[in-house]
Symmetry: C2
């Protein structure tokens, strides 16, 4: 890749990834660049699609979303089975992540529910009625030790 992102851009992104509300004034002071330049840079990063958006982090526990599961899925072979299955999985309520992987497993699915009943109804039963699936094993998460998917720059 060419140098479309320089060192200043990286420092801007590093500050923003942790706090979307960091003010132009404070940031400009910290980075020692004029605030209009900073604004110009940020706008540019947005337009390039490097900044994908600004989100609010909501505590899942506050909404009682304590039934966290990760499902490992093996698809049957057949044309389009994988593509179709992938998007079907992503549309299930409660599912926030679907990864297509290589190996013994085809898909890894991340999901959150309020309780076992909601999980059964919205996820497991639907999973079991999908003909594209050969087998699946679903893991219940006992403890989330780390979950910060927005961290991209260290």
């Amino acid at each position: 890749m060419s140098e479309i992102i320089d060192n200043v851009d990286l420092r801007i992104l590093k500050l923003l990834q942790k706090n979307a509300k960091y003010s132009l004034n404070d940031m400009a002071k910290e980075l020692k660049i004029p605030k209009s330049t900073l604004a110009y840079r940020i706008k540019r990063l947005e337009n390039l699609g490097i900044i994908k958006g600004y989100y609010t982090q909501i505590d899942p526990t506050a909404l009682n979303l304590d039934y966290v599961v990760i499902s490992l899925i093996k698809a049957k072979y057949g044309k389009d089975y994988h593509i179709r299955l992938g998007s079907k999985l992503g549309e299930l309520p409660g599912v926030w992540g679907v990864y297509f992987v290589l190996g013994e497993i085809d898909f890894i699915v991340m999901a959150r529910y309020k309780n076992r009943e909601e999980f059964m109804e919205n996820f497991l039963e639907k999973l079991m009625s999908m003909p594209e699936i050969e087998r699946s094993s679903t893991q219940v998460v006992v403890k989330i030790i780390k979950e910060s998917p927005n961290l991209v720059i260290w």
Copy 2:
């Protein structure tokens, strides 16, 4: 749970989770509540810890973080092995998620790297030198079909 979050709060959170920069004016119009009430509600949700923060989503691909892996890990038994291993895994550079699960696997680890070399150096080699691990299998993600961990309300 008691009614600390009512329907209006839920609607506020639903809008904010998709866009942290949604202005008080526009939101108030959409929700048909006065903007001062809206401000009051949001502040309350922040103070309660239900809103955990505002972050910027950066496109990992723009930073060449295309080598995405998910690792399934089985720990050896022994006192504190699990707790210690969990936090050790979370501290590896590139790791953004560590989940402790029940079953055949003990930990599921999510990580992103620039290429195979960085993955080997920062992840696999360190993993292989951890005595607490009995065995591990690491999956390379071919395609991220869905990844929106901020989605908590549908």
